[in-house]
């Protein structure tokens, strides 16, 4: 059984960094949606998901990430991902996710970019 871990690692103004580890399937995806909803309600409109410890994602997990994207877009916020494995980065590329979400190779690069007004 593959476990799933989710932790809000950093809250700084509008930014929230959420670390996600393990297997993003339906259960993990629902936990991500619930956490994202809470953070948006608390006023964090920049959500950065750090996928460094994410081993695999399935299409049900992806569909739930799209729900998060929709919520963030409605809130006129920014959704970002960092440190995806090559296979997850390829999955995002196949979907065309980079048109709607920002994707960074590392958390440092993401924090640098997100703290700079665009």
């Amino acid at each position: 059984m593959e476990t799933f871990e989710l932790e809000v690692a950093l809250l700084r103004g509008p930014l929230a960094v959420i670390e996600v580890g393990g297997y993003i399937n339906n259960e993990a995806g629902e936990a991500i949606v619930a956490t994202a909803r809470r953070l948006l309600e608390e006023g964090h409109r920049q959500l950065l998901f750090d996928l460094k410890a994410t081993r695999i994602i399935n299409s049900i997990g992806i569909s739930l990430l799209l729900e998060v994207l929709e919520m963030v877009m409605e809130a006129k916020g920014t959704l970002a991902f960092c440190s995806p494995s090559p296979s997850i980065a390829k999955t995002f590329q196949i979907m065309g996710l980079a048109q709607y979400a920002r994707i960074f190779e590392s958390r440092a690069a993401a924090l640098d970019a997100l703290s700079t007004p665009s």
Binding site: I56, I94, L97, Y100
Partner: protein, 140 residues
């Protein structure tokens, strides 16, 4: 030439059963020299094939993983279910733009399989759907 490595498994009806298939892919793939990154892509495609079979097949799902120690090495994965079947050509290509303004956000499984594997062949009829996928090391 070394013999093909072959693993057959029957997926149990339990949560995360699809990961049994990815464990088999990992074992066979490593034994014939697949890289970690290529294996990760194959595993993602296999998860999708198994999820479809488990969700729509309505029962027993069989998985066969065969590793051919060629140059470059090649993996073949076959997933079989015994559900009502479907017509692959009728499935729409998912569009992120359309999904973001609509209710349904699923439907990426087959699209991902086709992009992550070198070949995906689906034969489906009532009572038997067979998905056969192949990937060479360094392919795609």
């Amino acid at each position: 030439m070394a013999e093909a490595q072959r693993v057959r498994i029957l997926l149990p009806l339990q949560p995360q059963a699809e990961l049994m298939a990815t464990a088999a892919v990992e074992r066979v793939g490593r034994s014939i020299g697949f890289s970690r990154d290529t294996l990760a892509e194959v595993k993602l495609a296999v998860v999708e094939a198994c999820l479809n079979a488990l969700e729509y097949g309505g029962g027993q799902v069989e998985v066969e993983v065969v590793g051919f120690p060629e140059k470059p090495p090649r993996l073949e994965v076959v997933v079989v279910d015994h559900g009502p079947g479907f017509e692959p050509a009728t499935l729409p290509t998912p569009s992120l733009q359309a999904q973001l303004s609509g209710e349904r956000k699923r439907g990426w499984g087959l699209e991902l399989m086709r992009h992550l594997m070198d070949e995906v062949d689906i034969r489906s009829a009532p009572g038997c759907t067979r998905v056969r996928m192949t990937r060479r090391e360094g392919g795609r």
